[in-house]
């Protein structure tokens, strides 16, 4: 396997584990956290911050999620899903831009 493919395969395995592996939060909820879309209101602040401005996460964001009944293990999974999801989008965007740039180089 070429080196880049090995890196890509390792990242895909991580994404697969987070989305489809055994977990305490449902796969559907993990997928929503991963995409930072259609997240239930008590989790919205936490998940949106993890995805887009992680340095601003506070104790209160976790407290709000816990108060609505999410367990620590579920929050562990959902925060990881959001982080891995945002990173996966960045990775895809970068690779897509590279593919576009190298395709146009070759076309010249």
């Amino acid at each position: 396997m070429p080196d880049e493919d090995k890196k890509r395969a390792a990242q895909r395995a991580l994404v697969d584990s987070v989305l489809n592996g055994e977990g305490r939060a449902s796969a559907e909820l993990r997928a929503r956290a991963f995409s930072n879309a259609n997240v239930p209101p008590p989790l919205q602040a936490l998940i949106a911050k993890v995805a887009t401005r992680p340095a601003q996460v506070t104790d209160a964001d976790f407290a709000a999620a816990k108060a609505s009944g999410f367990s620590e293990d579920q929050l562990f999974e959902l925060v990881i899903s959001a982080a891995v999801g945002q990173s996966a989008r960045l990775y895809e965007a970068g690779l897509a831009a590279l593919a576009q740039a190298t395709a146009s180089e070759e076309a010249r």
Partner: protein, 193 residues
């Protein structure tokens, strides 16, 4: 850390391992190391594999360059723990802490090769804005960076955008300068696996 399970929820064997590390290193076990031991089947095992592959797998970039990319991406994300950890690791890897500090202070005037500078600029743009265009990539390629090197840099960027988010969301405790240096020594000797 913000979740009690990440402070106390480890198996007895893992707790013993943490105690041994504390005794031998003379430093507390960094939260980054603890996190990957919590239910490793969910996240830790595959995260370590991917991060190790990105940071230590075969690449035309040196380990030092990749550690610098990790520090730089972490700086853009404002992730204090990861900035501390990878500034120390890149500094040791280059045996030039001043060079790393210069890049983090001002990429444009820092004493690095143009290819690396262009790559860091692109990683910064991608991390900050969440997107990057073909023109940005053409600039990197025009600076002499190969497509394979761009892919490798994107893997580093992906790994650290994950770690930075978890460090800040879970609230990794900052280490002392000695703690970061000890962690850096470990990462250069053993990697991320």
């Amino acid at each position: 850390m913000r979740l009690d399970i990440l402070n106390r929820g480890y198996r007895p064997g893992t707790k013993l391992l943490f105690a041994v590390i504390r005794v031998f290193s003379g430093q507390p076990v960094p939260d980054a190391a603890k996190l990957v031991f919590y239910r490793p089947g969910f996240y830790g095992a595959r995260a370590k594999e991917f991060t190790h592959e990105a940071m230590r797998g075969p690449s035309a970039w040196s380990v030092a360059d990749r550690e610098l990319m990790a520090a730089f991406v972490s700086k853009v994300n404002d992730s204090a723990f990861c900035v501390g950890a990878h500034t120390a690791t890149a500094g040791q890897a280059y045996q030039d802490g001043a060079k790393v500090q210069a890049v983090l202070a001002d990429l444009e005037s820092a004493p690095v090769e143009e290819g690396l500078r262009a790559t860091l600029r692109m990683l910064g743009q991608l991390t900050r804005a969440g997107k990057v265009g073909a023109d940005d990539m053409r600039d990197v390629l025009a600076a002499g960076v190969s497509p394979g090197q761009v892919e490798d840099a994107l893997a580093v960027c992906a790994a650290f955008n994950t770690t930075d988010r978890l460090a800040d969301a879970f609230g990794f405790e900052l280490l002392s300068p000695e703690g970061f240096e000890a962690g850096a020594k470990y990462l250069l000797k053993r990697g991320y696996r």
